[in-house]
Structures are given as structure tokens and as C-alpha cells.
């Protein structure tokens, strides 16, 4: 562990974060957009675990625990919303969902 400086982990997490943001902005399928958001959350988790491990404190890892709980709750609700919208409109493309302007 001493061999790898923490910067490498952080750069990787920043990269994943940027990729996630790009995905949210360019993808059209609501489920894929949501997956990109999960990627963003995971990049945050990676940074948290890296910091926590290099500090030798558990707080960051416990935070990751709660992030996972929240992600699970969000997945349950978000996919339910997507199902509800699919039932009414039969599409999940956020471009086609435009009674309002996006």
C-alpha cells in the first residue's frame, strides 16, 4: 500500500466521476442515465475508501456503507418511477418524454 500513492486512486476516481457526468449529459435512455449516476456515486465511494484507508480511520468506510444504502433506496424508487412512466407512455427515452421542454 505504501507503494502506491493515494493520488493514483484519486485520479482514477476523478476520471470515473467525469465519465459518469458525461454519460448523464449525453445518454438518452433513462435507465442508462441512472446507471451513469451510479457510476458517479461509486467514484465518490472510491475516493472515500482511499482517504479512509490512508488515514487509518473507519469513518469514510462507514460513509460508503450509507452511500450504498442510499443507492439501493434510490434504485428501488427510481426504477419504480421508470416503470410507472413506461406503463403510461411505453418509452424510457428521455427525449421522447417531452410534454414539457427538457
Amino acid at each position: 500500500m505504501n507503494l502506491i500513492p493515494i493520488e493514483y486512486y484519486l485520479i482514477l476516481s476523478a476520471f470515473m466521476f467525469a465519465v459518469g457526468v458525461t454519460g448523464v449529459l449525453i445518454r438518452k435512455n433513462a435507465i442508462v442515465v441512472f446507471m451513469c449516476i451510479e457510476l458517479m456515486l461509486n467514484s465518490g465511494n472510491l475516493a472515500l475508501v482511499a482517504f479512509s484507508s490512508y488515514m487509518g480511520s473507519s469513518a469514510g468506510q462507514i460513509f460508503v456503507f450509507f452511500v450504498m444504502t442510499v443507492a439501493a433506496a434510490e434504485a428501488a424508487v427510481g426504477l419504480a418511477i421508470i416503470i410507472a412512466i413506461f406503463r403510461n407512455k411505453l418509452t424510457v427515452n428521455i427525449d421522447e418524454i417531452n410534454i414539457f421542454k427538457w
Binding site: 484519486l10 476516481s13 466521476f17 459518469g20 457526468v21 448523464v24 433513462a30 442515465v33 441512472f34 449516476i37 458517479m40 456515486l41 467514484s43 465518490g44 465511494n45 475516493a47 472515500l48 482511499a50 482517504f51 479512509s52 488515514m55 480511520s57 469513518a59 469514510g60 462507514i62 460513509f63 450509507f66 452511500v67 442510499v70 433506496a73 434510490e74 424508487v77 427510481g78 419504480a80 418511477i81 421508470i82 410507472a84 412512466i85 403510461n88 407512455k89 428521455i94 418524454i97 410534454i99 414539457f100 421542454k101 427538457w102
Partner: protein, 477 residues
């Protein structure tokens, strides 16, 4: 054991609402008449919590390993959230029936969302901020789409969900960087070390990402794109609560997280950021609202503008501005809830009667409602002697004290612009010839009660603003 009870008593408002959530689920499961019991049960819980908070303002401190603080301004926020939710329940009772989607779950989710707001306002630790934020947001995602047969509601809920969890992504990454540079999640420690930490650029980046996430939640300018659609699409009463309680909760976190509550304040580093979002939100909200004909959409843009006025206070970042923002939040909550309450009553089934032209001649059909609507519109536009005026007044004064006179002037300019579209509603109600086939407004005692209570509060805080502002200031350390 003694300690445990004392600790529970200290955070009793939270315990009350949590028990409220629990019992309401039990009622929903156990009783066939839950539809009749649950609204009144939740009103009872909200009012009880609100009163308890008001009467225990002086019992200040922190509980549970510095996770949560109680007393003082935190309890003022608690009672604000609970009152707002109680008024929302009162005006929802008839409204929900209009759409034929009467769910007891509506009230359970309202209770849970208030629990989340309270956790946010009392948080002294990033853990509580995060969990509270998510509890509130998840309930709002569902509440936005509670009319699940309506396509508009589905869409509002999807948009709110996607952009809300996008914001969560920023918040999580921001918290990760803050944790990594400050080596702790305790807000107290972060705030007291802020001076040295703010030289660490990584920490500032983390804070900025955190603030971007919260700018989504308060609906400030570059992060506002969800606001009009979501407020227009969701159930009117829910929009009312989202725009008031949700905003107040997000601001309460910003006030704590920035440590503006404490001397040696933190706002200086972020002053350009807040000044920018304040200026843009005010102008954008006020200017775009002019061209709106749908009342819910107009109030959505006005909500962006109001977020801008409050952000002026964040940019100023002194004691006066914290008190000013809190006063503004109280005033905005009641005037906006009142306006949304009236819209909910006038609204017919299937999104009818939401256009400005539907309000022509309301003064003859329903004099009381139109008089109250006029009152709320005056207050929202910031004309004295209503609460809205003093909210703006305190915030602008604090900005001038912090040498941000240009921002205060911009605020005044945008208030003047906003007078146009608020007063237009009044002109439509009073000075236009009604069409014969206008739809009647059904009488609805609970809804009227909610609106009247909000109106009384708006007038009261407008005539005696000193009481509240002195109270808030006395709790600022």
C-alpha cells in the same frame, strides 16, 4: 438510563415525527378507515411537534456524539417545517380526491420527508446531512408522481429524480474530498478549521462540488432546469411543500455547513460563487416569469428568483444575513404555501383552471380567495407591510453591510421587474370582465383554513417583524 431519557427528550421533535411515520404505517395497514384518520393524525403530529419545538427553544445543545444539535434556531427550523407540512396536509385533503388517487401513503411520505428535513436542519455531521437530504429527496421523488395515472406527474417525478440524484452524485464526491482534506466528517471541526483548510485547494473543490449539489436543491440559476417542469407537473400541494420546506431545509444546511452562524466566517472564499448564482437567479427568474401564463409555472420561476434573493444573504455571510435568510425563509414559506393552496383550490380535475385567464373574475366568484391571493401576491413581490418585504429588507441590508451594494441594487431592480407579473394576477382577478362560462370554485373548508392561517402569519410577520428577527438573532452565537 437517565442519560438516555434526557437525550431522547432533547431531540423529542425528531422522535415525535419518527413515531408519527411508524404509527401512520401501522394505521394504513391496520385500519380500513385510514383515509379518514391519516390526514388528521398527521396534522396532529405536525402541530404537536411544531408547538413542542417552539416552547423548547432555550434548551440548546448537541446530542448523539455531536451528530445532531437541538434548540435555538434548529428548533425554529423544525417548527417551520412542521407548520408548513400541517398547512400542506390541510389543503391536500380535498385536492387529492380531485384526481381520484387517494392514497394513505401520501401522508406517510409527507411525514417521512419532514423527518428528512429535520435531520438536515439539525445536522452537525456530514452523515446526518447526507441521510437527511436523501430521505427528504426520495420522499419528494415519489410525492411528485403520486398522481400516477397522469403523464405530467410521471414526467415530473422522473425529471426530479434524475436531476436530484445527479445532484446527489456531486454531493457525495464533494463530501469525499472534504473528508479527505479535513480528516473528519464533523461539521463543527470543519467549520472551526475553516481558516486553514480554505488554503487547501482540494478542500475548496470539495466544498464547491457540495455547494453545486445543494444549488440544485435550492433551485438556483444554472441548476434550475428541473424546477418549472417539476412544479408544474406534480400535485399542486406537493409543489408547494417542495418549494418551501425543501428549499428551507437545503438553506438550513448551507447556513450550518458554511459556518456563517459562527464568527470567523467562511463565506469569503465562496462569495463570488454565491454572488454569481444570486445575481443570475434573481434576474433570470424574474424575467422569464413575465412570459408565463400558467400560474404554477410562474410561481416556479418566482421560486428561482427568491432562491436568488436568499443567496444574496449567503454571499454577504455575516450575522445579519443569517438572520435575514431565516426570516426570509419563514416569510416565503407561508406566502408561497398560501398561493399554492389557493391554486390547488381553484384547479379543476385534469390540470384545468391553471391559466392566468381562468382567474378572470375570481373576485366575484370567490371574494375571500381572491383577496387572499392578492395579499400573497403583494407579499411575494415584496411590497410593505407584508412579511415578504421585510425578508428582502433584511437580506439587502446585510448585503450593503458586507460591501455588496451592487448585489442589493440588482435585487431591488429584479424586485421591481417581478412586481409586474405578480400584480398581473391581481389585475386579472379584479379588473377584467369575466367570461360567462367560467368554472365555479368548490368550497373547501380545510383548504380555506390553511390559506387563512398562512395569510394571518404573513400579515403578522409583516407587522411585527422585530419579534422573530430578534428571536433568531438572539440564538446566533
Amino acid at each position: 438510563m437517565q442519560n438516555h431519557f434526557q437525550e431522547i427528550y432533547n431531540v423529542l421533535p425528531l422522535v415525535l415525527v419518527a413515531c408519527g411515520v411508524f404509527l401512520s404505517v401501522v394505521i394504513e395497514i391496520g385500519s380500513v378507515k385510514s383515509e379518514k384518520i391519516l390526514p388528521w393524525f398527521s396534522v396532529l403530529v405536525f402541530l404537536g411537534t411544531s408547538l413542542f419545538s417552539v416552547f423548547n427553544l432555550n434548551n440548546c445543545g448537541t446530542a448523539y456524539n455531536n451528530m445532531l444539535s437541538y434548540g435555538g434556531n434548529v428548533f425554529i427550523f423544525y417548527s417551520l417545517f412542521n407548520l408548513a407540512a400541517a398547512l400542506t396536509v390541510l389543503s391536500s385533503m380535498e385536492y387529492i380526491k380531485k384526481y381520484g388517487s387517494y392514497f394513505g401513503e401520501y401522508y406517510i411520505l409527507l411525514l417521512s420527508s419532514v423527518l428528512g428535513m429535520m435531520l438536515m436542519a439539525g445536522a452537525r455531521d456530514l452523515f446526518m446531512v447526507f441521510i437527511g437530504l436523501e430521505l427528504m429527496s426520495i420522499c419528494f421523488y415519489v410525492l411528485a408522481g403520486i398522481n400516477r395515472k397522469k403523464q405530467n406527474a410521471n414526467e415530473a417525478s422522473l425529471k426530479y429524480f434524475l436531476l436530484g440524484s445527479f445532484a446527489t452524485g456531486f454531493v457525495v464526491y464533494g463530501i469525499a474530498l472534504i473528508f479527505g482534506t479535513a480528516h473528519t466528517t464533523s461539521l463543527e471541526v470543519i467549520v472551526s478549521n475553516f481558516g486553514s483548510l480554505s488554503h487547501n485547494l482540494l478542500f475548496v473543490t470539495g466544498m464547491l462540488l457540495f455547494l453545486v449539489g445543494f444549488s440544485f436543491k435550492i433551485a438556483a440559476f444554472p441548476f434550475h432546469m428541473w424546477v418549472p417542469d417539476v412544479y408544474q407537473g406534480s400535485a399542486t400541494t406537493v409543489s408547494g411543500l417542495m418549494s418551501t420546506g425543501g428549499k428551507a431545509a437545503a438553506f438550513s444546511v448551507l447556513l450550518i455547513a458554511l459556518g456563517a452562524v459562527f464568527p470567523g466566517n467562511a463565506a469569503n472564499v465562496f462569495r463570488p460563487y454565491f454572488a454569481a448564482i444570486a445575481a443570475f437567479s434573481m434576474l433570470y427568474g424574474s424575467i422569464v416569469a413575465i412570459s408565463q401564463n400558467n400560474l404554477k409555472r410562474m410561481l416556479a420561476y418566482s421560486s428561482i428568483a427568491h432562491a436568488g434573493y436568499m443567496a444574496i444573504g449567503l454571499a454577504a455571510g455575516n450575522r445579519e444575513s443569517v438572520a435575514g435568510i431565516m426570516f426570509y425563509l419563514v416569510a416565503y414559506t407561508f406566502m408561497n404555501l398560501g398561493a399554492f393552496g389557493i391554486i390547488a383550490m381553484v384547479e379543476g380535475a385534469d390540470d384545468t383552471n391553471l391559466e392566468l385567464k381562468d382567474y378572470i373574475g375570481l373576485s366575484q366568484r370567490h371574494p375571500l380567495l381572491s383577496a387572499l391571493m392578492a395579499l400573497f401576491m403583494f407579499s411575494l413581490s415584496g411590497l410593505p407591510p407584508f412579511a415578504g418585504f421585510f425578508g428582502k429588507y433584511y437580506v439587502f441590508i446585510s448585503a450593503i453591510k458586507a460591501d455588496l451594494t451592487w448585489l442589493a441594487i440588482l435585487g431591488v431592480v429584479s424586485s421591481v421587474i417581478s412586481v409586474y407579473f405578480y400584480l398581473r394576477v391581481i389585475v386579472y382577478m379584479y379588473f377584467k370582465e369575466p367570461e360567462p362560462e367560467a368554472l365555479p370554485v368548490h368550497n373547501n373548508a380545510n383548504g380555506v383554513l390553511a390559506v387563512v392561517i398562512s395569510a394571518i402569519l404573513v400579515v403578522m410577520f409583516g407587522i411585527f417583524p422585530g419579534t422573530l428577527i430578534n428571536l433568531i438573532t438572539s440564538y446566533l452565537r
